[in-house]
Symmetry: C2
Subunit: 444 residues, 2 copies
């Protein structure tokens, strides 16, 4: 790697879809790239719910950043937790005192859970699904509930242990609820002696009048029907008003209902990474952010009126062609990452700058249980087994690295045939519980 001072220095924060694709596309651009991430791997978040329910191992959906970027010889990866910015000095500051200089900065630090202002109170009880640790923690809670139910003599306690509440009816919530229901009804069917896992009650709480709100109404209806068939109980137009270790309180259109449960999974809301606030601070407050803390970016993905600062992915707020903010999904981050690499390339070579960023929506899909999905792309809508095959195909070809793909497909196929799940491990010492429940650690 050349370190001559003449080389333009690009610093990218975050090895998610946006940051990683930006780094990859800068491979042949005459610059030195430093990718900072606090984890040493890229995580394929869309499949995280399968780790949470024991179908896949963490390593199946995570690939070391250094491996992925092995051939990008102008990209250097550093394991570092960014704590702030010095925009005047053009430096990124890590929490352990490192200062990393940049000529161009790309911030792609993603999002974290949002508990409607109750973060400190609810997050330790109701884990969300953003990190590997979130997923293994949910796996531990869900499997642990069945284990404790098996030992429990008191019917009321047993019922509470076998009640699972998933909050949020978007794709993550739908996939999570479907997966828990199938775990209970199929995988664990013959595993216990005192309880019948099929007695599990899986409630999916959704604020609006339908699940998968961003999909076509017909697909929402189809998804709702499929969820009921596999044993999920969708509670629509419902709102969680309280989360406690042994219950949730739900407002069902004015009627307040207390549901005894020890397992609440949060898929209801996200907000920008805390780094967005740090960036705003560095801008002296002149940076505009939306209600979820996301940075409002210009048409060329720059932020705060500075040409050398880009913000992309889940952390960014940008309007689409329909006038609505772009959704926080992988394809948006990927396309923005590639776009920013093109802008940097054009600037360094002095060629024509690309026109404003335009998101090409290739469609969306959600899977419901073992062999059902809903998908839409443009005017086309797909449901059932065919949609599931499409979902499988698309996720597999998108997975970052060949080896992971083969293993994942093999494991899926195996689970499909046997209705078994092989990664049903309850790990993490109980002694580590406290640490894992801390808001600070889940937010990582």
């Amino acid at each position: 790697m050349s370190t001559s001072p003449a080389r333009h220095r690009v610093v990218i924060i975050g090895g998610g879809f946006g940051g990683l694709l930006c780094a990859k596309h800068l491979k042949k651009v005459p610059c030195d790239v430093t990718l900072l991430d606090r984890r040493n791997f890229h995580l394929f978040q869309p499949l995280l719910y399968q780790v949470a329910t024991g179908s896949l191992s963490p390593a199946n959906i995570a690939a070391p950043l250094r491996s992925i970027l092995k051939k990008e010889r102008n990209v250097r990866t550093l394991l570092a937790d960014v704590g702030g910015f010095d925009l005047a000095a053009k430096e990124v500051l890590t929490i352990d005192g490192l200062r990393v200089s940049f000529d161009t900065l790309v911030v792609a630090a993603g999002s974290t859970h949002h508990y409607f202002g109750k973060d400190a109170e609810w997050e330790p009880i109701a884990p969300g699904l953003k990190t590997i640790e979130d997923a293994t923690e949910i796996r531990r809670k869900v499997l642990g509930a069945f284990e404790r139910a098996e030992r429990e003599a008191e019917p009321a306690v047993r019922k509470r242990l076998l009640t699972f509440v998933v909050v949020g009816g978007g794709p993550t919530g739908v996939e999570m609820a479907g997966s828990v229901a199938e775990l209970a009804r199929q995988t664990l069917r013959r595993d216990f002696r005192s309880i019948n896992p099929a007695d599990a009650h899986v409630i999916l709480v959704e604020n609006s009048e339908r699940v998968l709100q961003t999909f076509h109404e017909k697909l929402s209806a189809n998804a709702e029907k499929s969820l009921r068939e596999i044993g999920v109980d969708p509670w629509l137009k419902c709102r969680v008003t309280e989360v406690k270790p042994d219950r949730v309180v739900i407002d069902r259109g004015g009627v307040i209902e207390t549901v005894p449960t020890e397992t609440v999974i949060w898929a209801a809301g996200v907000k920008a990474s805390p780094l967005a606030a740090k960036l705003k601070e560095a801008f002296g407050g002149t940076l505009q952010t939306d209600r979820a803390g996301r940075v409002v970016i210009a048409a060329d993905c720059t932020a705060g009126g500075r040409a050398d600062v880009f913000v992309i992915g889940d952390m960014a707020h940008q309007l689409g062609a329909d006038g609505k903010p772009l959704p926080g999904v992988a394809p948006v981050a990927i396309q923005q990452g590639e776009y920013v690499a093109r802008v940097i390339d054009a600037r360094l070579r002095g060629s024509t700058l690309p026109t404003a960023f335009k998101y090409h929506d290739k469609g969306s899909m959600a899977t419901i249980g073992r062999s059902h999905a809903v998908a839409q792309t443009g005017w086309m809508r797909l449901t059932g087994w065919l949609a599931w095959l499409a979902w499988l195909f698309i996720h597999v070809i998108t997975l970052a690295r060949f080896e992971n793909r083969v293993l994942v497909v093999f494991q899926w196929f195996w689970n499909y045939v046997t209705r078994n799940r092989t990664a049903r491990l309850i790990t993490n010492d109980p002694a580590a519980d406290a640490a894992h429940g801390l808001p600070a650690s889940s937010a990582k």
Copy 2:
């Protein structure tokens, strides 16, 4: 499952090799079996070092106990941490207040690390290799050291970070050291920009004058040569006298040497599970134990002169045909578990009791890096690639469940071809470090 009071109740503590095989072999015996374990999975410990060095995922070498025992309809599995015994009442007490009655008790709770009396001081710094959490903690430490070295400008600190000390030259230590050396020299070869991972110094500290002391001398010599070839530095006739977070002090035959390092892996000594002491307590101290805390058992694997209490596996001390104590390896535990099931069967059916337990030693083997092993069985000795193939074959066919086997072979084969490792994830939040470092959690 019949719960008629006439059925004989067998309680087995521990779902390791001994307990699991005993439960399986009781399938057709007219009794009700309760298997207690504090984990919900059986762990294939001999491959744990491959998790610790990123070649395999935890789920590849662990299978849910309920899955394995699905078809044994007279076996009930309970997730429970045993805290003591009431032998007069014939009850096992769990730490959370459950009392489980038995007619026959089989204790197979295994072993834990032994730090020559320095447990409290050394264990938090130098993790051993007994649990999934141990393995992911070692993985985190080893990979984290390379990451920090990449960021480090100071040559002395960098050297310290790239020094790895494995204590104990038995099979586990040899396998661990070889695996770390190959990780550095092959897998990570092109991953870093500032450091050369091949600069890593892997020291294997062994008390006696040769590695693999329980093997034939020629195999020890062969193993030592192979270790040197793949980059391990065996320090023989050496003794660790101090372990600190930034160094170990080693007595090299009278010469005291301080080795700066932040990664020490413990493979030097084991002692019986703390349950052995609890059992002794329950016996009012009349139970005989050896120096490592193992329970001295009779020829029929019973303990303390009680026909209804069996102790097997790593927790038990029994002499072999050669007059030496049987080693703490899986085959001994497996054969003892099967034997105890036969004794219980004979007693319940009133048939002839089997003669004294006799261990059939099928040989031992250890692998050294990517394609080398040493093996001995009877008068036969094998080294090199052929021994490695034998090692691979035997481990694969022994793995508890079909699915794991296929996945493991696939992953090995892939690693072999690409010299890559796919499970190189640094997980566990730094916030959880403290909890993971506690002696109490590592001892689990």
